[in-house]
């Protein structure tokens, strides 16, 4: 059984300009101990996807489909029921560590609150536990620093605090939304290493959300590439990095500036901008920016799949892949998606 199984998830927002379709039928599954990366540009719906799962959508947002966590549908739960799951069984880290910590409270107050609520620990035990977690994420002098306020920490240290906080209740699933984007390259490397270590040490499953494929190369098992609210490609890390099939994925890979290769002067780009979610074009949503677009791309593209579970939504033929029955990628396909 999967830890989290998402089936045909759709998210839309009612706005004065009309219905914005942020997520349009996503299926995926995460097993215990597995790390899934969800990759896409701003506006691809990757953040709204997990916000919907966590029940954190804005007032005008609506989610449909299923998000089965240990067999129970999170989308059907009341806020009160969700509170029992969030923070204890599913934890989340946000992009900007400064705005997600309360500037008026010390780190100690913010950390102990979590365990006192979920695990009913006393103040002293809670403090001990919190210090232990800060040590685990390698904050020096944790016993003293825990009494400081967030502004007394550097950006990287704040993100470590966020990670420590999310680990307090030993969650089964950690969702990290762009955990390194707001950080310096040097700190980015440190935090990615830390996440990589946690992944090895614990049996915690992780969902990493990012726009930068380089961040997830070393620390994920599988990758799901999103574009305009749809999955365009998914597979193992090796499938995506070495056997990328979808032109969008290949474009993303080519646009990462690399130091390990002799660079020609021109960086590869994906021309154009992400589509308007108010009025999605029919057919393949990437065709306006695709160098290989053909006439047939105005039809919904087929979903390819090979025996290892590498899937891609494109008219281009996938070597040793077969077309799945349902081109729109409706529910039912998620069950076989991940490798055991």
């Amino acid at each position: 059984m999967f830890l989290l199984e998402v089936k045909n998830l759709q998210v839309s927002f009612a706005t004065p300009e009309g219905e914005v379709h942020a997520v349009n039928g996503i299926d995926f599954a995460v097993s215990a101990g597995e790390t899934l990366a969800i990759v896409g540009e701003s506006g691809s719906g990757k953040s709204q996807l997990v916000m919907a799962i966590m029940g954190l959508l804005a007032q005008n947002g609506r989610a449909s489909g299923q998000a089965l966590f240990k067999g129970e549908d999170l989308l059907q739960k009341t806020p009160r029921e969700l509170n029992k799951v969030r923070g204890s069984q599913i934890a989340m880290i946000f992009q900007d560590p400064m705005t997600s910590l309360n500037p008026y409270l010390t780190v100690e107050q913010q950390m102990t609150e979590v365990v006192m609520y979920h695990q009913k620990l006393g103040r002293r035990e809670a403090l001990e536990h919190a210090v232990e977690m800060l040590r685990a994420v390698r904050i020096p002098d944790a016993e003293e620093r825990i009494h400081q306020y967030p502004h007394e920490y550097s950006g990287g240290m704040r993100q470590r605090v966020m990670i420590a906080m999310s680990l307090l209740c030993e969650p089964d699933l950690l969702i990290a939304d762009e955990p390194t984007t707001a950080l310096d390259v040097t700190v980015q490397a440190q935090i990615t290493n830390l996440i990589g270590e946690l992944r090895k040490k614990t049996r915690m499953a992780m969902i990493l959300i990012t726009h930068d494929l380089a961040v997830v190369a070393g620390i994920s098992d599988r990758i799901l590439v999103m574009y305009a609210g749809q999955m365009v490609e998914s597979g193992t890390v090796e499938d995506i990095f070495y056997r990328a099939h979808h032109p969008y994925t290949r474009g993303l890979l080519a646009s990462v500036p690399r130091l390990d290769r002799d660079a020609s002067d021109d960086l590869q780009t994906i021309p154009g901008n992400p589509p308007n979610l108010l009025a999605l074009p029919g057919g393949c949503c990437f065709r306006d920016r695709c160098a290989q677009a053909q006439e047939i791309c105005s039809q919904p593209p087929p979903m390819w799949r090979d025996e290892r579970g590498h899937r891609s939504r494109c008219v281009l033929e996938m070597p040793d892949g077969r077309v799945e029955n349902d081109p729109a990628g409706e529910a039912g396909s998620a069950a076989e998606e991940s490798a055991p």
Binding site: T186, F241, L259, A263
Partner: protein
């Protein structure tokens, strides 16, 4: 030999902050930029790289006169900008322009793209005919890859990358000779970053601009710079020609920055990881380490590094470095 258009000499910007109790005031000084010197030739691009807090943005602002330096000179075409009165300095801004980091926050949400781009023209050439202004605005939009029919749209109707194009068009509308880009792509998606970098490079070639490109990421800077200056806590650690720097950095900090760039390749990423290239965080800028300012985080430090401040000196290959051990260390990548 060509004369440099810009010469920055021993530039320093200090900020002071008061702390302590009401009765025991203490004044602490933060040396944000501490003795930076470099030359910039016409049509050349200098990349300035460093972590947050290294003083790179402060340096950019001090060059443009948006902050007044405590020491040093900024010679623009031989004229010292730090000594100019307000009005002559304002006129100089026609030649010196800046593109800011956050493309959305730096545009006025209540002005249309056209107004934003045309505003510098109205400010500096109030007598210009409105038809001419519009023509020039449309021309700029085309040049930066926007559609001239988007002229009446508001910033929220554009994506982040397009907003940055508006910012670039605005900064180029006066035909400046120097453009300073302060982290122009770090708020953008990777796929869009590449578009903006290529755009800036093309524009620079077309217009013969001198360009200063500030970033925290060495991998981006590589695609646009001729020379790169690596900054750490307000000082210059290394100034080097691009190819030499990326092949064999001379300063341990340059190497650490390079090694921190994540590799988009799962097998290599797993191999390379594990090593920590840079210990801990930057020390407090209020009490910087004695001697070499980098020694507290340097894997190659020797006792001498804690005692003497290394001067920025010229090496055989013509590059500059501030490290006692530059000759003996082989930091090839």
């Amino acid at each position: 030999m060509t004369e440099p258009v810009l010469r920055v000499q021993d530039l320093a910007v200090y900020f002071s902050s008061r702390t302590g109790s009401l009765f025991r005031r203490e004044q602490r000084v933060l040396r944000a930029v501490d003795g930076i010197s470099f030359d910039l030739n016409p049509g050349e691009t200098l990349g300035i790289v460093g972590e947050s807090g290294s003083g790179k943005s402060t340096l950019a602002r001090a060059i443009l006169g948006l902050l007044s330096p405590n020491r040093g000179r900024v010679l623009w075409m031989g004229e010292d900008l730090t000594r100019l009165e307000a009005e002559p300095m304002r006129q100089k801004r026609k030649e010196l322009q800046i593109v800011f980091q956050d493309p959305v926050a730096s545009l006025n949400p209540r002005m249309t793209a056209g107004t934003i781009i045309a505003e510098p023209l109205w400010t500096f050439y109030p007598q210009m005919e409105s038809l001419q202004v519009e023509e020039r605005t449309r021309g700029m939009m085309k040049m930066v890859g926007l559609l001239p029919n988007q002229i009446n749209r508001y910033p929220h109707e554009f994506s982040g990358g397009q907003c940055q194009r508006i910012g670039i068009a605005r900064s180029l509308v006066l035909n400046p000779k120097l453009l300073i880009c302060d982290e122009p792509v770090s708020a953008l998606d990777v796929s869009i970053q590449a578009q903006i970098i290529n755009l800036l490079r093309d524009l620079q070639k077309k217009l013969g601009l001198a360009l200063i490109f500030v970033a925290h990421d060495l991998s981006i800077v590589r695609h646009i710079s001729d020379r790169v200056m690596v900054m750490y806590m307000g000082r210059s650690m290394e100034v080097a020609e691009k190819t030499a720097l990326y092949r064999r950095p001379l300063h341990p900090y340059s190497r650490a920055l390079m090694k921190s760039v994540l590799i988009p390749d799962p097998v290599r990423a797993r191999e390379v990881k594990q090593e920590v290239w840079l210990k801990g965080d930057m020390p407090s800028p209020f009490s910087p380490p004695r001697g070499c300012i980098f020694h507290s985080r340097c894997p190659y430090q020797v006792p001498r590094c804690q005692a003497d401040v290394p001067a920025l000196r010229r090496m055989e290959n013509g590059n500059w470095v501030a490290c006692h051990r530059a000759e003996e260390l082989d930091l090839s990548i």
